[in-house]
Amino acid sequence: MTGARGGWQSTGRNMLRILPVLIVLGLWQFASATGVLPKSLMPSLFEVGRALAGLIASGEIVPHTLASLGRAGAGFFVAVVFGIAIGVLMARVHSVQLALEPILGLIYPVPKPALIPLFMVWLGIGNFSKIAVIALACLVPIVIATFNGARSVDPMLLWSARARGTSERRLLWRVVLPSALPQIAAGVRTAIAIAVIVLVSSEFISSEAGLGFLIFSYGGVGAEDAMLAVVLYLAVLGYALDRLYVAGLRKAMAWHAFAH
């Protein structure tokens, strides 16, 4: 899949894939321009674009982006660090697995955004409660993915490493984590999507900054072009983060069969 030819082919495929999205956007603009889609129901694509350009040009969107990214990033970071640690511990130490598996089973079915009011009681309505809910919501898929990945390490790899006198610590860093990486990566990717959902929900419920807050306050005053502009911006941001993650992953895991 290397070389100019492969590159051109995949560019062509991507163009073909994006075409339907462009057609739908074109239809939206066409329907607005001809009045089939009344302005009272939905602003046109151009109006949304103009509102977005205005939000970016005036710099209004910047502090809200930073507020949202900070919350989601902090919660996500905590979840990645603790999630991988807990998952590996569960997979390697049987008593930890016995202790945590039922508790995980108890947390798993709780819809995490429903925890927002309780966390607001415990940690206040500021950033901490939002970060904590995001961290908890992201933690569960990462723990489960890491646990499954670290548990199913090929025993041959472990045996041959041990036979060569590898210490348990080195075994963890050089054998267990690398071979669990594809599953951990998939869990982390799920967590990114969850982080954005919980972030927006928590900012809808209570906040004075952030993209969710911006969407909600523009919606509240009937400025639908600006509201949709922020929704679009959030969608592009989420998409870009996901692509960035996948691209980084491919680079980091070029040695792994998963990447090919």
């Binding site: 039922p102 709780v110 819809p111 415990w122 909600f216 509201m227 989420g238 998409y239």
Partner: protein, 261 residues
């Protein structure tokens, strides 16, 4: 050779092993609040939460909101199945539909549709309709994509042999494509059940109007943490029960299905 009683004993042991950690956490929680290690106002004892839950359920206060959340979630989910399954099947079997729809659904699937709540409120009003439509939108994506992957992955041997026997296109959908996609459709439904409850609760928390989400927000505003916890318990229970029902239905309906490796 294991005797049946042996199996019973090991099952009891497994159950015991599962109960101990949860029991430890609950007892520690109870003790910590009783001994004032944590403030019992913000973190009430388990026993009081359970008592509140029983009171709210037995007194009927919980039943109205429970019913509202449940019917909204199930109606939205049902609409998503009714529209998403045919859409996914067509996408899986027609190249033109696949070319046009697959990128749209794949692109929009990971996006936070919850951000559309204010738009849906302005379109469909503050009451149940906007919530049901939001649940429908969120559930549609997993159902369409799982159905699509199921229909696409059908081994051509089945469609060829049906075609060779002169099966028409409509009959082909009903008798070949749909049954062979069912396992995948059910995976989608199982994902969507969880999504439906989550979105129902979030819409109720954001735009109010009865339901368990609203009940939680109201309890929060009154500082009634016991009721908030009891409501959370109900929300988690219906999520869990619906998931298990979907799982049981799958086993009943798909007992004949051989999962291809």
């Amino acid at each position: 050779m294991r005797s049946p009683t042996d199996g019973h004993a090991s099952r009891m042991r497994r159950l015991f092993v599962r109960i101990v950690p949860v029991g430890t956490v609950l007892i520690a929680w109870e003790l910590a609040t009783r001994l004032n290690v944590v403030n019992p106002y913000v973190f009430p004892p388990v026993s009081e939460i359970v008592l509140r839950w029983v009171t709210l359920v037995a007194g009927g206060t919980m039943l109205g909101p429970l019913w509202d959340t449940l019917w909204r979630a199930l109606l939205g989910l049902g609409m998503a199945v009714a529209i998403g399954v045919p859409l996914g099947l067509v996408m899986g079997r027609s190249r033109a539909a696949e070319w046009f729809l697959e990128p749209l659904f794949s692109f929009a699937f990971p996006l936070p549709k919850i951000a559309l709540i204010p738009l849906y409120v302005s379109w469909f009003g503050l009451f149940s309709l906007s919530k049901v439509m939001q649940i429908f939108t969120d559930c549609l994506f997993p159902i369409v994509l799982f159905t699509y992957h199921g229909a696409r992955g059908i081994s051509p041997i089945y469609t060829w042999s049906a075609q060779a026997r002169g099966t028409g296109p409509l009959r082909m959908f009903w008798r070949v494509v749909l049954p062979l996609s069912l396992a995948s459709i059910y995976d989608g439904v199982q994902v969507a059940v969880v999504v439906a409850v989550l979105v129902a609760v979030v819409t109720e928390m954001v735009s109010g109007g009865s339901g368990l989400g609203y009940m939680m927000m109201r309890a929060y505003r009154y500082g009634d943490v016991r009721t908030a916890f009891a409501t959370l318990l109900t929300i988690s229970l219906i999520g869990y029960v619906l998931y298990r029902i979907a799982q049981a239905l799958r086993e009943r309906l798909l007992f004949w299905h051989v999962t291809e490796a």
